[in-house]
Symmetry: C2
Subunit: 211 residues, 2 copies
DNA sequence: AAAAATAGTGTACACGCGTACGCTGAATTC
DNA sequence: GAATTCAGCGTACGCGTGTACACTATTTTT
């Protein structure tokens, strides 16, 4: 019952996942990664790959899931820091920037596959981001007493700004991180301020667009 | 001096550019496009490609330039509409959404190459977006009398939000366009409101981050 | 103890790729 | 009119790709 065989299989599967993650870089995207490259890096014959995944897409979706998991762990860390005192916006941005520093390639994967050519990938990444947004939305409703609609708009805008800043962070030097973080924090404050001002005046949210 | 030869060459060059643009779709990115595919679509032998571009990268950068040009034309249109009366934010968003509808593949190119694997591509796309942001920034300073720093933060955030909405627009049905546009408009209003409130209080922009 | 299942291997194939090279015929220059 | 330039073509090469297939060694099931 121990399953010495299943155990070994799981280990090899991990090697494939880690091999793929390890090959990602600013110059190498997942979609430009070949089955043979991954198998080789994992110390496997190319054909053995099929014992674990039907194709590279399946491996890729696994990576996206892992990335989402990492992101959610990150958010838990951020919440812990907030409980110890500090501005929500500031702590969140700093935590996110640290994530980029430590997991640049995972974040690159999300960014790239979000606008990539595989519908399945796009859907998977958008789902992870939706989780991210929804948890922030709940928080804003409860802590800041915002209407559902306003909270959603703020959460959505905030996540967009933070992801964009993360994307920028990938291409700049460490010394410029703080400036980027400060700008991002200020932009989030603009949004928060605007959301608070509009809250309760939902009639303003209905806009007539020319048809 | 007429240059019947140069004329023909220019025409063929255009065919290559159009062939590349025509092959882009939600399932096909520029980076997954081969020299041979493009040449074939343009009705050329693969080796003839080299008479016009040294490699696919050079063609790609040309496409990015064209996309930037199209975007700037779009902004001119938007300004014309505003002069005839109407909210800046509303007109801008509607104009941008129309751009997405008519030039989905060009916009996809920008989105994808911005986070792609070629440093040259990333730089080119970011340059185009910077133009876009700077023109908005100037506008905000002049028309809304904002400080340089606040105007930049607002312009940067607004462009980020609009591009993100454009990205979302690519994946939804036409009937949901209006809802997306309305949300985007409201988010831009949050940002504008926040920027106005913080304007002139620049001491608040300096934030101490933990080192 | 025998039989079945299966993770991993090695060989082999057709395919599309970028591109080097030499040629051709028309436009351009002299 | 002769010489030169050059856009476009066809052939050919080596390379990396995904994956079909048959095989082996070991674990698991019977």
């Amino acid at each position: 019952m121990s399953g010495i065989r299943a155990q070994q299989k799981e280990k090899t599967r991990r090697q494939l996942i880690d091999a793929a993650l390890g090959q990602l870089s600013s110059e190498k995207s997942f979609s430009s990664l070949s089955l043979r490259e991954v198998a080789k890096e994992a110390g496997l014959a190319p054909t053995s790959f099929y014992r674990h995944f039907t194709d590279m897409d399946e491996l890729g979706l696994t990576l996206v899931d892992e990335a989402g998991l990492t992101l959610r762990q990150l958010m838990r860390q951020a919440r812990q820091r907030i409980e110890k005192g500090g501005s929500v916006i500031q702590i969140s941005v700093i935590t996110f920037m640290e994530f980029i520093e430590n997991n640049g390639n995972i974040f690159r994967l999300l960014l790239r596959e979000r606008s990539g050519t595989s519908p399945a990938f796009r859907a998977a990444v958008n789902r992870e981001i939706r989780y991210f947004t929804m948890e922030l939305c709940d928080y804003l409703q409860q802590v800041n007493k915002l209407d559902a609609e306003v909270a959603y708009l703020q959460a959505n805008a905030a996540v967009t700004i933070v992801f964009s800043a993360g994307s920028d962070a990938l291409d700049i030097e460490a010394k410029d991180y703080e400036q980027l973080a400060n700008r991002t924090i200020q932009q989030l404050r603009f949004i928060a301020k605007g959301a608070t001002e509009f809250n309760g005046r939902t009639e303003l949210l209905k806009i007539k667009t020319k048809v």
